[in-house]
Symmetry: C2
Subunit: 464 residues, 2 copies
């Protein structure tokens, strides 16, 4: 078993603990968290290891297993009071060989034009000879249904509704388009389509296909589903306008293997006064495979670990217990988030008061999206003046992250760190998801912001 | 003379003008500005031309002259009512050959260790044989003075006070360190130093020296001044600790040539009702030479031009006259900003009510720094609800940009667009100042924010 000992700073923890007196002045504590993160932050160094030494971490892969082991060791090295390994069975999808996509039209010299495509995560393959069929372009499920079986059967459906660039929050633009990726194959197969091609989920115009989760339905035939780069989508659309008989050749060798055993890694910081109440914070260890999972969600993982490091280094002793959770399988199954929720629901000896996620990138922190009633949101806004010196202004009602939202059902307040969103979908689920696209200062500031919220929740509660 | 016709969109301007009814609902106008910039923004395309086709634009260089010509043509193509070429004589400093820097110590195998250095802008050269001398490290002018002539004479002074990483606003960290770069040579020469080496102005730890302006004093001997990369500075400091006799070899062939004639380029949009009142907005055309001047200040230049394009495209007719100013020589002389101010001061037929600058990078816009009394700042804060939907929250009292601050003397309200500052000094004045470091969406959002402020100032005034 490898030992990951690239963080020599942690050997000084026990000394540091003695040096810093525990205080409960939130202004002073937050100042110390931001100063520590911006002077000595270790998030970026951890992210370098996770993304470059371990690499992409698709659920069920050897790299995902290595990341679990690394996460456990980090928790131990950084001084967690205990580490819980929460077993969970996860899907094991593999991409296989590099995919191939060609636009086919008499209008093209030579008859074929290569375009960048990739399999969507969870898709079946095309078989070794690929699939060749006429393409029908649609922009919504309504438009698809109006076309009806007679216009769809035997064809490849091309979903080409772009993310709306005029929306200021890029995640809203994503939400407005991602149904095509998630449910496109099911909706198209219902009308007899043989495959789907989906415009990549990005606001960029480039040549990188973006993967991401898709699902099948039990009673609907499974058909292959691919993403096409935005430039490729524009080109395909142009050819379809010029030649209604435009076809597409798609070849993918992806497949789903039997489920694998994996784990959520939970580092516990035992509360000094109200140890039966729990504040959860985390990111997800698994990633897609085209990049290295640096942004999605290496950033959330290392920021969560950094909370543990900073609390120990600065001698911050939370009154309530803190669970630092490295979730498994957020991308294609949510088995880890679901498992954590199910165990929490069964756990009669603890009260889970809040669950915070970081899965929106390591960009400059702007606020938190809080998924609870307005009364509780208003209460959390009492902390607004504490965050404002750090440029963190938005403590707003909004959707929390995928791994924590179920915790609402047991009355935890759920929320997500909300960094600046403009660059997120440049990097998301494609070859650009690498360390170089993460800015060290922005990442460390996000860690300080996340740590500050966890400290406030753990020491001052939510009143719920 | 080359024609720069890569913006076909402008040929549709006159049609667009007919389609959009003039309205004075600021909410609707701002919505149209943000939507236009995020859907059809041309800032990034213009920045590609300016930074990659023209390249770095040191005052007095052929590239700076080409940028002036390009700026004038852009103003004409984009439909300025008139273009004023405001002549100004500028310094003409040239870097010469690549600089050489070696740490010299018996502790180093071979006796010398190469480190990355560059001449500071305006520095004299070292002569062809370079300068070799013992190094004395200081962190402030006070420390230097305390050392006194006996410890400084004949030596190279190494200024090594880092920017303070714990300051949230990176510009504050810069302000706290940049005296070393600007005045280090004068202060060291007063005590008989033979050269100065200054730690690069960045929060990064890397191998890129960052240049920037320095000055001499009339009655103090001129000595060469270089920047050293932050990693190089750390290494030099380490060797000095180990060996008090550590020396340095510096070679630079930079020199200052005779002044050159250049121009501020001013595009005028004539006010529809109060044409004798002027709102000024701009960025600076000149840049340093190590990168391509994409961020500093290509972003401010193209965002300013984009205001003109969007106003024309959307049929926005400002009530007051708008001056879109591409300033010359911000980096090493401020001759353009000073010239514009002097002409404005002499101009009895116009009242200059506000001057807005964009010279803080093309990152996500967060607000404006407004350099006026609190009463006027409060008045501008009446517009805060208009900006909030776009994540622009900070309409705060603060220093305006170098090219516009003098306009205060004639009672204009001066301000600067304040984007997120975290990445600014990664890129600033070094090899990384290239297009790839600018995010298209962030840049275009900055343009919309700048355009919105100019529109509000032009149509609703400042009350001053």
């Amino acid at each position: 078993m490898k030992k990951y000992c690239y963080l020599p700073v942690v050997f000084g923890l026990f000394v540091a603990n003695q040096l810093f007196a525990q205080s409960d002045d939130p202004k002073a504590i937050m100042k110390s968290l931001y100063s520590e993160s911006l002077s000595n932050g270790q998030s970026y160094k951890m992210l370098d290891y996770l993304s470059n030494k371990i690499g992409a971490r698709v659920s069920g892969s050897p790299q995902a297993a290595e990341a679990v082991e690394w996460g456990k060791q980090q928790m131990e090295i950084l001084g967690a009071d205990s580490v819980i390994m929460q077993e969970v069975m996860v899907p094991h999808w593999v991409r296989g060989n590099k995919e191939k996509g060609d636009i086919l039209s008499d209008k093209i010299p030579g008859g074929a034009q290569h375009v960048p495509v990739c399999a969507l995560g969870g898709s079946i393959g095309t078989g070794e000879f690929g699939i060749k069929a006429e393409v029908v372009e649609v922009h919504s499920f309504d438009e698809l249904k109006k076309l009806g079986r007679k216009n769809v059967e035997g064809k490849i459906v091309f979903f080409n509704r772009p993310m709306d660039p005029t929306l200021i929050n890029a995640f809203e633009a994503y939400s407005g388009a991602v149904d095509q990726r998630g449910s496109g194959a099911v909706e198209a197969a219902k009308l007899g389509a043989v495959a789907v091609i989906v415009r990549s989920m990005t606001l960029n115009h480039d040549d990188n296909p973006h993967t991401g989760g898709m699902h099948y339905a039990n009673d609907v035939e499974k058909i292959p589903a691919a993403a096409i780069s935005t430039n490729g989508a524009d080109l395909l659309s142009k050819f379809i306008k010029e030649d209604s008989k435009t076809g597409f050749y798609l070849k993918m060798s992806c497949q789903t293997l039997p489920d694998e055993k994996s784990y959520n890694v939970i580092g516990v910081i035992k509360g000094s006064e109200l140890s039966n109440e729990i504040v959860t914070v985390g990111g997800h260890l698994d990633s897609w495979d085209l990049g290295k999972g640096a942004s999605d969600d290496g950033t959330g993982v290392v920021q969560s670990l950094e909370i543990l490091r900073m609390f120990k280094t600065l001698g911050i002793k939370p009154k309530r217990t803190v669970h630092i959770v490295l979730f498994m399988n957020e991308e294609n199954g949510l088995r880890g988030g679901t498992k954590y929720f199910e165990e929490a629901q069964k756990d009669a000896s603890h009260k889970y008061i809040a669950a915070v996620e970081s899965d929106a990138g390591g960009f400059s922190p702007r606020g938190f999206n809080i998924d609870t009633d307005q009364v509780a949101v208003n209460k959390i806004n009492d902390w607004k003046p504490l965050f404002e010196p750090y440029g963190v202004y938005d403590l707003k009602k909004g959707g929390s992250g995928a791994d924590v939202y179920q915790m609402k059902k047991i009355k935890a307040i759920t929320m997500e760190l909300a960094p600046d969103s403009q660059r997120y979908f440049d990097i998301h689920h494609n070859v650009n998801d690498v360390l170089e696209k993460v800015n060290p200062r922005e990442l460390e500031m996000g860690a300080a912001t996340l740590a500050s919220m966890v400290y406030l929740l753990a020491n001052f509660g939510t009143g719920n």
